[in-house]
Symmetry: D3
Subunit: 192 residues, 6 copies
């Protein structure tokens, strides 16, 4: 039932302004289903549009951070924030991007000690510091990231993704956003 | 010096795409100066544009939450997150919107116990719960807000502003964003 | 490789005393594989034997707590403790016991607010209080559980399972215990 | 009165299965009284038996960790967990094992900064990391322990004792287990 | 040795100004020894004098809070602050004032759940709220105390003692203040 | 109204003993107004007297810590403790002593990462460690301070000021002490 997707009214695709309907339809066509976040945020079309723009700006941007690395930031910080929608939905994307059916469960359950490459560890440590303890985030965190070889533009990318999902996690907690059933199994089986 | 505004390169107005230059110029004309957040985020124009759109969507939206109440959410959660830029800049705006030269210092220093009206207290409690402990945010928080008379649309507004400044605070921590000197005194003297 | 299962040497089945070899073989026959915890703890046969005995005493005991409810306690507290082995392994068992392919991810990611029946919520709240904040666990927690209809024997069961997995989670953290690959997919597909 | 020992029914020695009655009687004979933990856990004989076996496996094991060092782990982690029964009962044992009438109060009150030898400090730091913050326990903690000269078998011992008392502390909190009066003074006077 | 009492130089009685020498001598005559806090703080006579005055003002004041209740506040908050000197020294005084050889160990180890009378529980809860989480201390804490029958003057007493030992605990942590050996056994044996 | 200064009765200057009336009058003459803390603490003249003596002993003492440095300790720790009275009142004094109209807002909002000189950073780090996490304060904190060039007497000064304001913050929280309106603007304008 529609009302279990969110604590608030959700949008039907037909209710959305044309530009949003078109964007969401394109995503739904690629995924095979409409991720619930779009129907829930669709309750406020202007907020949905800004969210999509911010998302594309940091997640689709050309740059040296790979798509799997970007999803790693999302899953690690969403795990630290206990955000079920983001862990389940982006966990699926991470499995696909990283071509690893088990990485998402490991990262989301314990981002602090999951075994990663040195570069991945530096990315995750930077993200966790900013996500969980923003008050004490500082120069030492940047120095650690640079020591691990991250460029300043990569550091910004990690920080901006962390910041966007600090927002996104809170929207999901606010709305009690339910993950689509389809996400749970995506990327777990050979060749999906 | 430009390089003390942010840890990252900052944009000059002339470097920005026309639409952003126009929006920032309009803000600067109203304020008498260009808030540093725009120059810092201008390093990534697409992110700045999405941020401005999200900001306008939740801060300028018509609705029953007053402008002072919206700034109250920003200052309370930014205080809880120890975010200097947001406390100083939005503290100035809160003083002006609330026509109260002392409210911002009190709210930012201790949002948990500052003396407020019952409606303000319900708004701030809801915002703090989502800002600081998202993992345990739940139905009880919404019930408390409804018991205090907040409508569901007002609850969304409080939540969405909290979420946006969870992002904004982290961008400020990431960049070590420096507040413009002008903010410190705004709204503290009679008739400014 | 054997050495990636644990930070410490792991036991081959043939190295174990006969009684343990027999017990582990029986489990492996049922599961189709030998859960890594037994090989890791097998480094200390006396500890493995006591662990198995404690496990059977609280997890296999006759009583009114269902097997799914027992696994719910394990997954909720292991999620709160960020214990990857226990979340992955017992998440698989919870999916099977509860006949619900999505419950484990939801409980492990956010045990505090996951939607549950009132009885399940009372069980999980009791378990989380004892797992995460033992110092302040007290009469009020028991009163809440009794108000929700739990009997004193059920309260003991919840507490004893929580206590055993406080131990188990720490052994897993100590050894960096790796979940068997088989667990990740168990109970996610129709009829497994 | 029996009912003040635990929130749950307690066992009389005569109610216990013969093997447990024998083991507890032997302990009582050595101590001069029956420690309450055995009567409280005796409510569930199978759990008591597994607990005694686990206890003996890690506390009585031959190895290079001295008996005083093992009790140091118990008192430090039980102090960090604010567990009155374990602090009072094992504090008594620590005083006796360490032949120091003041060490238990100092360790239990502040395990983080109590003055210890370097080896004791390494043992306590390892134990506290695993007891209090299991989610972030990792390779760095083991490295610190190894740098201080602990062998891997000693590290396992410290970890296993910490894990067992994570269980034991929670059983004591669950049952509101009352320390026997006799423990408070044991080891405080010359030659007891 | 003098240098193990404190990280800083300690005063000999003869070094102190006459008024302090007289006060400390009177205390030492009553106790049978000179509590180390006086020698450590004696390094700064003006601070020692103000400390003694504050102490007498809140601990010796006429009023309805009994001396045992005042020590209960000290031991509970010092336990919560893991302050070894204050727990050991005031634990001794509490045992004597309350004529109970076991109360101090129980209160210091777990002030949150130790079994107390309703009035004692209200006193300790008020003290812990102010000691440990001052930022969120507020009207609700006072209401709880009043509901339990505390007068406003008693509430002030509890608060002022808590505040003084917030200072005192930090001086002890700063100086690594060592409790005199004599304190450990005081009040534990019949008729001392 | 007098009753909004504190939750408890406040003293009029004329009610105070002559010595206190004289001291407070001298302060009021210098400031142009009577800081509310003196009227609130005046409810208990003996406590006010001891507080003034302690304050003068650590804040007015001759020594190498400058007056601005002393206020830096007060504002940093009061910010960490979310103490509105102390942040507002001592923020004003810090602005004046440091001749910097913006330093207090920056230090109070985020003492952990505010940009300071190395010596100021060492002072603030030492103070925060003792103020916020006294249980783990230890030799490493002193070593860091010494490495930054602080003498042992300066370390004591920082610690003693931190300790006094741990007390002072809690008195302010206890009484809901309201800052005088005059403080908010002091030191913000050229030449006040």
């Amino acid at each position: 039932m529609a009302d279990t997707i969110s604590r608030f009214p959700v949008a039907e695709l037909d209710d959305l302004p044309a530009d949003l309907r078109e964007r969401i339809t394109a995503i739904a066509d690629r995924s095979g289903f409409t991720p619930n976040v779009f129907r829930a945020l669709g309750h406020r079309p202007a907020e949905l549009r800004a969210f999509l723009d911010y998302h594309d700006a940091v997640m689709e941007r050309d740059g040296s951070l790979t798509k799997a690395e970007r999803e790693l930031v999302v899953v690690a910080t969403s795990g630290a924030n206990s955000c079920t929608y983001c862990v389940v939905a982006h966990g699926a994307i991470l499995r696909i991007r990283a071509k690893d059916p088990r990485i998402a469960d490991r990262v989301a359950t314990n981002p602090w000690t999951v075994e990663l490459t040195d570069r991945q560890r530096a990315i995750v440590d930077l993200a966790l510091a900013l996500a969980v303890e923003p008050a004490t985030f500082g120069a030492a965190d940047l120095d650690d990231a640079r020591d691990a070889g991250l460029t300043d533009e990569e550091i910004w990318d990690v920080g901006a993704i962390t910041a966007l999902f600090a927002l996104s996690n809170r929207i999901a907690h606010l709305t009690a956003l339910r993950p689509n059933d389809e996400f749970y199994l995506m990327g777990r089986l050979p060749r999906d």
